[in-house]
């Protein structure tokens, strides 16, 4: 089923580059509509919520009896200077959506209760369903709980407006046509912006009515998209192969089962010199990045093609596009035909090291990556033959967002959505997590003292801008099986585009105390305490 206007992995992938720490780009200074306020011009109505929802259910209709519970849809996609198609196939609770936009193909699906996605570089991730924002909103609406309210009517469109606002979900305003009951508009508060989807051109097929045209916008024309349904069939037989999870591919090739990668470890940032078209570009190894990001000046200078344009949000807003890098080579690693994001991205890790890219998921997923922070080395292993070192602590990860999500504990609170982020200089607690656990995320003294003595440094740099924070000493901090009595975090505030529904980042300040093995193939991170750990906490 086509769900393009919902927050998706594609949406999240922009966030991810999130995590990388250093970039000097300005912040979009315009005042944004964060989507939380009710739509304007709502008039009161005497109609009840149950009447509106019944009208809506009636508008959808029912599939003709006797038809198999299958569907096949063909969509066209336009917008962002990159057009494409989407094919959606469903059978019962199983589904698979394949999207081709320009030269890029990706897919998502659910099979036997497991959700999965395949990115543009062919890598496949089985999801753990950790994000609850969208499912919570859907559950509220399905059960019509106390978080669903009828606000009134609007004249343009001529619709009833229903607010869905579960405390652990996304805020949405749903507009149901007053005469027909169809959902004609949806406004959602997503990462600090109002996203609007409008639905038109309703057709009834085999007894069921749905919109054949959907327009989405977040208020920035570059991000507008139009989805048009061109064919729809219910009840036709579906070949099980059409629903299968695709075979994963990887752009990564290792010269041998174990390769050493030359790096510069600068202030715990792993900087990897990579050869592209005969030139050297410094990338930062960034497990917090859901893909590969490369600076637009480099792309321009190398005359690489740029596909599409959009405005993305991470720490700030920035123009972005995509490219295909023919080949990246570094220390026995070759990556070919790599789909990468293009954005203005440069920072100097020191006065000889201009970092112009992020080396994220697409590399890390293709190998087991070992970072030795104490000896400044980086290795890659073939996942098929990798054996964890003796005595290593296993940390289970989920890769739903193409970044390693782990559990971490702050006092008695446990967060399931902490990102292990080699690109983050310091570990960070996001404000929603702090707000949800006020008794646990309370400063133990040092954070307050730092603010008292120097109340000025209140932001750090991320992709596209800066994020405000304050120092926050909390504890005990539990990471894997390691318990630290106190830890000094950055506590973000007022950064919804950066935080989304994640809990925080586990950054270099923690990781530098370990030998770290990123083993995505087995959904694990392996940790071996080093001498730093032993001197301070051992």
């Amino acid at each position: 089923m086509h769900t393009s206007s919902r927050p998706s992995n594609a949406t999240r992938s922009a966030l991810i580059a999130a995590a990388c720490a250093a970039l000097l780009l300005g912040v979009d200074g315009t005042v944004k509509d964060d989507g939380s306020s009710a739509p304007a011009g709502i008039a009161p109505t005497k109609t009840t919520l149950s009447t509106v929802l019944a009208l809506h259910r009636k508008s959808i209709g029912r599939l003709a009896t006797g038809l198999a519970k299958t569907s096949t849809e063909q969509w066209t996609i336009r917008g962002g200077a990159l057009d494409g198609t989407e094919t959606d196939v469903t059978s019962g609770n199983n589904e698979r959506d394949d999207q081709t936009v320009g030269p890029f193909h990706s897919a998502t699906g659910t099979l036997a209760g497991k959700s999965w996605h395949q990115n543009e570089n062919g890598e496949v991730v089985i999801e753990h369903g950790l994000h609850s924002l969208d499912t919570s909103t859907e559950r509220s609406l399905a059960t019509v709980d106390r978080y669903v309210t009828l606000l009134g009517t609007t004249t343009s469109p001529d619709a009833y407006v229903v607010r869905v606002a579960p405390p652990d979900g996304r805020l949405e305003y749903l507009f149901y046509d007053r005469s027909g009951g169809q959902l004609v508009r949806r406004e959602s508060a997503i990462r600090g912006r109002r996203h609007v989807a409008t639905f038109t051109d309703f057709h009834t097929t085999s007894g069921r009515t749905q919109a054949w045209h959907e327009h989405t916008s977040d208020g920035r024309p570059e991000n507008d998209r139009d989805y048009t349904l061109t064919t729809l069939a219910y009840g036709t037989p579906i070949d099980p192969k059409a629903l299968a999870i695709p075979t994963a591919t990887s752009p990564v090739t290792l010269a041998s089962a174990h390769v050493q990668i030359p790096i510069k470890l600068i202030d715990d940032r792993v900087i990897v010199p990579i050869t592209i078209s005969g030139r050297t570009v410094d990338f930062q190894l960034d497990s917090g990045s859901s893909g590969i990001l490369i600076d637009s000046l480099i792309v321009h200078a190398l005359k690489l093609p740029v596909y599409g344009n959009a405005v993305a949000d991470t720490a700030g807003s920035y123009d972005s596009g995509r490219t295909i890098i023919p080949q990246m080579t570094f220390g026995g690693v070759t990556m070919k035909n790599v789909e990468a994001d293009v954005a203005p991205f440069t920072f100097w890790s020191d006065d000889k090291t201009p970092v112009a890219g992020l080396l994220g998921f697409d590399f890390i997923d293709g190998a087991v990556v070992h970072i030795d922070y104490q000896h400044s080395t980086l290795e890659a292993f073939d996942p098929a033959s990798f054996t964890p070192p003796a005595g290593a602590t296993s940390l289970p990860i989920a890769l739903d967002d193409d970044v390693p999500l782990v559990n971490a504990g702050i006092a008695k609170a446990i967060g399931h959505l902490f990102i292990v982020d080699t690109g983050a200089d310091r570990s960070t607690i996001f404000s929603p997590f702090a707000a949800a656990h006020p008794d646990d995320v309370t400063d133990l003294g040092l954070g307050d003292e730092m603010v008292a003595s120097y109340p000025f440094v209140t932001d750090f740099n991320g992709v596209g801008g800066t994020v405000r924070y304050r120092p926050l000493q909390v504890g005990p901090f539990t990471f894997a099986s390691y318990v630290f009595p106190k830890w000094l975090f950055n506590g973000t505030h007022d950064a919804p585009a950066f935080e989304d529904d994640f809990d925080g980042l586990v950054g270099q300040d923690v990781l530098r105390n370990f030998d770290v093995y990123l083993d995505y193939a087995h959904e694990k991170i392996w940790l071996v305490p080093n001498d730093r750990y032993r001197a301070r906490w051992g």
Partner: protein, 538 residues
């Protein structure tokens, strides 16, 4: 902003100059070896720190007495969380700083208040956070203990991004930090901390002494009172109105005799029977007088250091008790005495700058066509017909206007009447590369890409300036199209935030400029040059 490019070049040279020095980085001499564990030293120190008494509000009201480079003074500091207000008194020189909800302000020696984005380096000079050893981002080693009483453990701390280590001395008996050593330039700076007192659970040093071996530059700070937890109204931290008493009020508009030489607007300052040529500079936050002239006039130094023993001259603050500039009378006007003089032609030697303080008390009209500078009493000033309001914010006296550059709006453009050429800085160009067309036949485009190999430009290399064609340059209602402008690869910041551009006389001279700082406004009115050069759109 006199000669900004020169200043940029200097910054680059300085960045490239620093190199590690084994002697400077050597551990302090005469330490005895110890076997104490780092964890035990840090644990004892943490116990010594204490913590704010439970339930106590995070506020402080404190008084300090200090001697800074030979000059005595006092400070009154009030703080609640990250909001604060300070009043620093050095003889007749009084200034205030404050911050409310992240918005900083500064009231200068002449009583003029302006918003400020820069870090306030004065208000918290005596407050120190001595927790670098506890910061897990740093590498910490116990290097020994002192052999004289009171004995102290000495820890060497290497911090990310710092070229030199620092050393902290922890009193073995109390756990207090009693001494720190850091490297500044070619010197080892030593700070001692004593007179520790515990107030409502928190332990702090009430006496801090800094020295880098040059006694005349020593800083000595004594806290004389401290009250914690007292309520302070938020309004106390809000930016106050200016209290300009140094510029005598005008009754009616008047002309100020002025000479327009190249990009300089030169006026005559009459003081103690001498006529001195000063430039009027809209981008100067401070007014300046040449130190030799100040000395000849016998202007007071108020006990400040003016010269080091080795002959190095030191800038200092002074006041002119009575002076006139045309019809304007200045009384007890504070300005900075430093080396500043140059000859614009054979007849004019400029020996000072009249900056924000001078412009802030009245309204001024700068007329390039007729070469006149008029002053209008603030209370009677009204913008003339045809004048457009330039969106403007002051940053510690520097006017930052918004103007369209390319397809976007640059919000931090310095309006600089004393700079002939408009120039756009690297960070803005990086964000909007498509708005600029390289006029160097493509050579620039490749060179500015941040490649890591040796054929590329690199941090620390000289500033480069070249010409691009920009699609739009919009100043109020005027839209210059496809015009060549100076651009540079170098980022430039004021107050820690990037400056997008400087707009200089080459574009400003098409307008009469009205400075209405008492109302926080600048107006631009197209003049005869404008209508002679440009045509209105049909």
């Amino acid at each position: 902003m006199r000669r900004p490019l020169f200043a940029l070049g200097l910054a680059i040279v300085l960045l490239g100059a620093a190199k590690p020095d084994p002697k400077l980085d050597a551990d302090p001499a005469g330490l005895a070896p110890v076997t104490v564990r780092l964890a035990d030293v840090l644990a004892k120190h943490e116990r010594a720190l204490g913590s704010r008494a439970a339930g106590l509000a995070d506020t402080a009201i404190e008084e300090w007495a200090f001697v800074l480079a030979g000059q005595a003074g006092t400070e009154h500091l009030e703080r609640a969380g990250a909001n604060y207000r300070s009043r620093l008194v050095r003889g007749p020189l009084i200034e205030e700083f404050g911050q409310l909800d992240g918005k900083r302000w500064h009231r200068d020696f002449n009583g003029i208040t302006s918003p400020m984005t820069d870090i306030d380096v004065f208000s918290f000079y005596g407050s120190r956070i001595l927790e670098d050893a506890a910061d897990p981002k740093n590498d910490v080693t116990v290097v020994g203990e002192t052999t004289t009483a009171p004995k102290a453990y000495v820890l060497r701390i290497a911090q990310p991004g710092e070229r030199h280590p620092e050393w902290l001395y922890f009193d073995e008996a109390t756990g207090d930090v009693v001494r720190s050593e850091r490297v500044y330039g070619k010197r080892r700076a030593v700070t001692t901390y004593d007179d520790y007192r515990t107030t409502l659970g928190t332990r702090r040093a009430w006496h801090v002494h800094d020295s880098d071996g040059r006694v005349e530059l020593d800083a000595d700070w004594h806290r004389t009172s401290l009250a914690l937890g007292k309520p302070i109204a938020a309004a106390r931290f809000a930016q106050p109105a200016s209290q300009a008493t140094v510029v005598e009020g005008l009754v009616q508009p008047a002309n100020i005799p002025a000479k327009f030489v190249y990009s300089d607007v030169i006026v005559r300052l009459n003081v103690r029977g001498r006529g001195l040529d000063f430039i009027v500079d809209s981008s100067a936050r401070d007014s300046i007088i040449d130190r030799n002239v100040a000395s000849d006039l016998g202007l007071p130094t108020y006990g400040q250091l003016t010269q080091l023993a080795d002959g190095t001259k030191y800038a200092y603050d002074t006041t002119i008790d009575d002076a006139t500039v045309g019809p304007i009378r200045l009384q007890n006007f504070a300005l900075r005495a430093q080396t500043y003089n140059y000859e614009t032609d054979r007849d004019i030697k400029v020996v000072g700058v009249l900056g924000f303080d001078f412009l802030a008390a009245n309204a001024f009209k700068l007329d390039w066509v007729n070469g006149t500078l008029d002053v209008v009493p603030a209370k009677t000033f009204a913008p003339p017909d045809g004048a457009d309001l330039a969106p403007m914010q002051l940053d510690d006296g520097v006017p930052l206007i918004a103007m369209g550059i390319g397809s976007a709006v640059a919000s931090r453009v310095v309006l600089d009447t004393d700079n002939f050429s408009t120039i756009i800085f690297g960070t803005y160009i990086d964000k909007h590369p498509d708005d600029f067309v390289d006029q160097s036949h493509g050579r620039r485009a490749t060179r500015v890409a941040p490649f890591a190999d040796d054929r590329s430009s690199a941090f620390g290399q000289p500033l480069e300036v070249w010409v691009d064609k920009v699609s739009h340059l919009q100043l109020t209602l005027a839209d210059y199209r496809e015009l060549p402008v100076w651009v540079t690869n170098f980022p430039y910041s004021e107050g820690g935030d990037d400056i997008d551009a400087i707009v200089g006389r080459d574009y400003l001279e098409y307008f009469d400029i009205y400075f209405d700082y008492p109302d926080g406004r600048i107006y631009l009115k197209p003049n005869a040059y404008f209508f002679k050069t440009f045509k209105r759109n049909p």
